[in-house]
Subunit: 136 residues, 2 copies
């Protein structure tokens, strides 16, 4: 593929880089309401899961498993939400969100539910380090 990967500007604005996995850029959503990571496959033009070939799907699956195990181990997480939607941002990205029964959107989905609560700068740096050390 001659095209190069470029992160969608909206994803770039809403999240911060954590690590590069074998296939995907791992990013942390800048929303203090939920522990919320994104996997963005570095595959130019991919919008759907089925735009990935078999090898890419297996890599993404391994990344989903790894992030899922880490998220489930976070304090307070009772349920994982995993989704590839892309109605607003077409670039393929997989959401992994740790949920619990007292979070602000429970039991509804996190998407389209109120406005993101941005992390304070120090807290964001600490979280990036927290996730980066686990996923780097």
């Amino acid at each position: 593929m001659s095209e190069t990967f470029a992160l969608d500007p909206r994803l770039a604005a809403d999240s911060v880089f954590v690590a590069d996995g074998p296939l995907s850029q791992v990013r942390l959503m800048d929303d203090a309401r939920f522990p919320w990571l994104l996997l963005v496959p570095r595959v130019p033009g991919a919008a759907e899961w089925i735009d990935l070939d078999g090898g890419q799907q297996r890599l993404l699956l391994a990344e989903i498993n790894r992030v899922s195990h880490l998220l489930r181990a976070e304090p307070g997480v009772e349920k994982l939400n995993i989704a590839a939607l892309g109605n607003i941002v077409r670039q393929l990205h997989v959401h992994l969100v740790g949920r619990h029964s007292a979070d602000p959107a429970w039991p509804g989905p996190v998407w389209g539910n109120g406005t993101a609560v941005r992390h304070e700068a120090g807290a964001l740096a600490t979280l990036r380090e927290h996730w980066g050390s686990r996923l780097g």
Copy 2:
């Protein structure tokens, strides 16, 4: 595993059986607003994607690919939404929804967005046959 698979009563009430895949029961959500299928792995006790072993995950992945290709080929479908949430029904189930920019929930998620519009009985039977013939 000695436990046997039993479909969650809420999933049973909200959807109809279409076919049995290698791992999952394929069901059609009874909501005329969206082309919306469910994959319910016949794995007792599974609530999370990571509750499946590697072989089960690969089977589910193949089922997701198959249903995704069929959904994307449906008239009017512009985007697929794929999600495993389970905040309300804990039994592991994967949503596959065909979306388009004029559908009633666009660009938001379908979950928690208004009330299902049940199919008229004849239409439901026709749709079951439509999907059953493709997935049986």
